[in-house]
Symmetry: C2
DNA sequence: ATAATAATTAGACATCGGCCTAATTAAGCG
DNA sequence: CGCTTAATTAGGCCGATGTCTAATTATTAT
């Protein structure tokens, strides 16, 4: 359960910010790159790490690549944290259907 | 908001396991170290990282040092993940009293 | 086919991180 | 005090990680 990859992936601030930018929908690699003071290859590397951890999806559309948030793996992290706290806001468990 | 330290801290499997062992109460450094195939100094290093991230508390009692889980920072991680998902199991916000 | 644009892959470089052994601090006991 | 036990600090080693420039792939348009 829960490979180490997601945790490694979110340990970098740039990558967490990328995920944050994807909260409200897909964005192209270029769009994302614009928000950071970093070269495109460096950004590309971060995308690859997030992709490898399955935290984001990607699809090509013409020349551009659209990245999107994969909430499934984020939920794993969430579950890990909740389990640590021992409870807090879990239990019941049927309110995730929306 | 949310320094990088907690995320770096939980990016290591050994440290996550340490946190897991502390779920049910305090443990001494020695107790914790026993569970891992690693030297005590290495374990001590992990404790220091967790402490620095404020994920654990520590208090000396005689020769031993007792470590305990600090759920406050874990909740920050939880909040970050929930915010990413956009909802999921937050909302209402007063259910943390149970 | 050539050129332009979007993005990645390749490779180098410096720093960070995790692990080890050896030495040190801290506390308890004869 | 001198010895033992619990744990940390110091310092070195080496692989992993983040960043950059240069080169490459993929797509579209002229």
């Amino acid at each position: 359960m829960s490979s180490n990859q997601p945790f490694k992936a979110i340990s970098d601030p740039t990558r967490r910010e990328i995920l944050g930018l994807l909260r409200h929908g897909e964005k192209t690699a270029g769009d994302l790159a614009e928000h950071f003071d970093m070269t495109k290859p460096s950004m590309s590397h971060h995308f690859a790490v997030l992709k490898e951890a399955d935290l984001i999806t990607s699809r090509r559309e013409g020349q551009q690549i659209w990245y999107g948030l994969n909430t499934t793996v984020v939920q794993d992290v969430l579950a890990w944290a909740m389990d640590l706290i021992g409870d807090g806001k879990k239990r019941g468990g049927s309110d995730d259907s929306e």
